[in-house]
């Protein structure tokens, strides 16, 4: 299945900003992070289609997954 992965802030270094990726059915957020060598401890904000999700969430065809490190501001 094809999903769109968006990376932000320091996660972009040596990777990409946005990319269409092919993953097997049943792939979780944790699987995607592993495939991109993003340590789970550094994951701060995870969203699928603009909603926050957890690591174990299973992706489906057409999803957009956004991954951010822990961030703050205001």
């Amino acid at each position: 299945m094809i999903i769109t992965v968006k990376l932000f802030a320091s996660f972009r270094s040596g990777r990409f900003d946005i990319k269409s990726c092919e993953y097997p059915p049943g792939t979780t957020v944790a699987d995607v992070a592993d495939s991109l060598k993003l340590p789970q401890g550094e994951l701060g904000i995870m969203m699928i289609n603009s909603r926050h999700v957890k690591l174990e969430r299973v992706l489906v065809e057409g999803d957009t997954l956004a991954l951010f490190p822990l961030l703050g501001g205001g």
């Binding site: 802030a9 972009r12 603009s50 961030l71 703050g72 501001g73």
Partner: protein
């Protein structure tokens, strides 16, 4: 900090300075000082620009010490924008210098009989109030340039621009940064108009010959400060994200979450948000020889700011904050960072709140004064404010006034203060804070974004109502306390996640005063401040019916979540029920 200076601008024969002890205000600083004093001494029905209002300027409880992050200065008064009590705080050098000079507060009182303008010079020998009409209607950058020739570079400056002199309701008070740029503003609520009404153009703070404020237990204080700094450095937000990208790292986050108010709150996502993002901004700043990591005051270890240059490498402004990039950017359909930087410079120079001003321009765009996405149109409207034309005075008086004058229904304000950069329909928790804070819509008063969106300090679903009341209540209490310490609010990211860093903060507060501080003491301080503020607002005529968002947030769902603000009125009324 063992004295309070009162300057009566209306005294017969000219301004009169009285320096006294702390009295009932012993031990207070920052927001606790400004709010308790305004609540006790200002008539709640006073006209904010009249003789009965007071402008209270107070460094935080730990300002002027060797403690890191202690450079916040609070300014308080009855707000001409909201009619409520107001505390507006800023970084820059002023708090540290004023605290080392020994003043827990400088209070501007009364009303001058003439339209002369004055500057106040404070040094180790005392306070002078000097008439200087040569500064009339000058803006902040040229004023500081002129004053530097007279007072030099080893001082801190506070000033108002032309907006403050014109008593515009969005007028700010500028504090200089370590390089003496007037870029750190007590922005919200029109505090600059109150300073203008007192006839004060600038305050020069000179701490030559003064020492750091000594803690009661120096060894424990030093140790606590070291642990505190370690905690800030090791937390990913305060140690990595904020230094590298600044607050504007939030553009992509809020846009992705569908909570980025676009084109005056008509959508929760902006197609061109990426062009405005912190990632883009930091790369641009570095490529132009600017700086993406800069502290607003000495002793800051987070260094969330930066320097924004033009394409030729010339200084334009400090790194615009997330709220500014949003208000002048996505809120107005503008996606060019150079336009935002120019507007940020104009805000700082004229001396207006970037949130109020940007939101107002978006409301003006809804009224047809310019198209959304019209960069030149936005600049033209700001030039009206700079010139002080009738249109400029309307715009400079904020979103509520502008909406009324031009017949706009969608005006994002609470208690007439403009909403910041988070849509309450997509982030229900921040809507609770906007509605109920004593200050008018203000994100910093109880930053529910942390747990709703950033997942720092806990996890509350931003699209649901559950848990939001308690969250906002606890954040508002904690914030009122932090705003009193002189600490930058950004320490909250680390102390919410790391108990040992919170303990280090308690130990700093305790060892400075030679007492034991507990978390309960901090909560008690926060409640005391909020209670005084609420009491003032009640006496000023505010009721629970003012603790609501504009109706369009309840009636118009917003994409992509197609939700409205769902908190019930009865729930909002429980925020201060402790």
């Amino acid at each position: 900090m063992d004295k309070i200076a009162r300057i009566d601008m209306g005294a017969a024969g000219g301004p009169k300075v009285t320096v006294g002890g702390l009295g009932d205000y012993a031990g207070l600083g920052g927001r606790a000082m400004t709010s308790l004093m305004v609540a006790a001494e200002v008539h709640p029905l006073a006209h904010p620009l009249g003789a009965e209002n007071k402008l209270v300027i107070s460094p935080g409880m730990l300002s002027g010490t060797t403690g890191s992050m202690t450079g916040r200065l609070s300014v308080g008064c009855k707000s001409p924008l909201t009619g409520t009590i107001k505390e507006s705080n800023a970084g820059g050098q002023a708090a540290q210098v004023l605290a080392r000079l020994g003043y827990a507060a400088v209070v501007l009182e009364g009303k001058p009989a003439t339209d002369d303008i004055y500057k106040i010079y404070i040094n180790k020998d005392g306070i002078q109030v000097i008439m200087d009409n040569s500064l009339k209607l000058m803006n902040n950058y040229p004023v500081i340039e002129k004053l530097r020739k007279e007072y030099g570079d080893k001082v801190a400056y506070m000033s108002i621009g032309s907006a403050g002199e014109r008593k515009l309701l969005s007028a700010s008070i500028a504090c200089t940064d370590p390089e003496l740029r007037p870029t750190r503003h007590c922005g919200r609520g029109g505090v600059g108009a109150v300073m203008g009404a007192k006839g004060i153009k600038a305050i020069i703070l000179d701490d030559a010959g003064m020492k750091m404020r000594p803690p009661k237990d120096p060894e424990k204080y030093r140790d606590a400060n070291r642990k505190f700094v370690e905690g800030l450095r090791k937390h990913p937000v305060t140690g990595e994200g904020l230094p590298a990208y600044g607050t504007n790292v939030l553009t992509n986050v809020l846009n992705e979450a569908g909570g980025y108010p676009t084109n005056n709150f008509k959508s929760g996502q902006f197609a061109k948000a990426s062009d405005l993002s912190g990632e883009t901004q930091a790369a641009l700043e570095i490529s132009r020889g600017g700086n993406a990591t800069h502290g607003c005051h000495r002793g800051c270890v987070i260094q969330c700011s930066g320097i924004y240059n033009d394409k030729d490498g010339n200084y334009v402004t400090k790194q615009p904050e997330y709220e500014t990039v949003w208000s002048h950017g996505g809120h107005c359909g503008i996606s060019n960072l150079d336009t935002v930087a120019k507007l940020d410079y104009m805000d700082d120079n004229i001396g207006v709140d970037t949130i109020e001003m940007g939101v107002t321009i978006g409301v003006a765009m809804d009224a047809g004064l310019a198209e959304f996405g019209d960069d030149a149109g936005a600049i033209r409207l700001m030039e009206e404010v700079e010139k002080g034309t009738p249109l400029g005075r309307v715009l400079g008086s904020g979103a509520a006034i502008t909406g009324k004058v031009f017949g706009v229904e969608r005006v994002p304000v609470v208690k007439d203060q403009a909403l910041p950069a988070y849509d309450p329909r997509a982030v229900q928790g921040i809507g609770v804070t906007y509605a109920t804070t004593t200050q008018g819509a203000d994100h910093t008063a109880g930053y529910a974004i942390a747990t709703n969106i950033l997942k720092v300090g806990g996890d509350v679903d931003p699209l649901k109502t559950e848990g939001q009341i308690e969250l906002s209540r606890n954040l508002q209490i904690a914030t009122a306390a932090i705003d009193s310490t002189g600490m930058c609010l950004f320490i909250a990211f680390a102390i919410m996640d790391q108990p040992e860093t919170f303990q280090a903060l308690l130990d700093m507060l305790g060892s400075f005063h030679g007492i034991e501080m507990t978390g309960d003491d901090v909560v008690a301080l926060g409640k005391k401040v909020l209670s005084a503020e609420r009491d003032f607002n009640t006496r000023a005529g505010f009721t629970k019916h003012h603790d609501r968002l504009p109706r369009f947030f309840y009636n118009e769902p917003i994409a992509p979540h197609n939700q409205t603000f769902m908190m019930k009125d009865e729930e909002l009324d429980e925020v201060f029920n402790w």
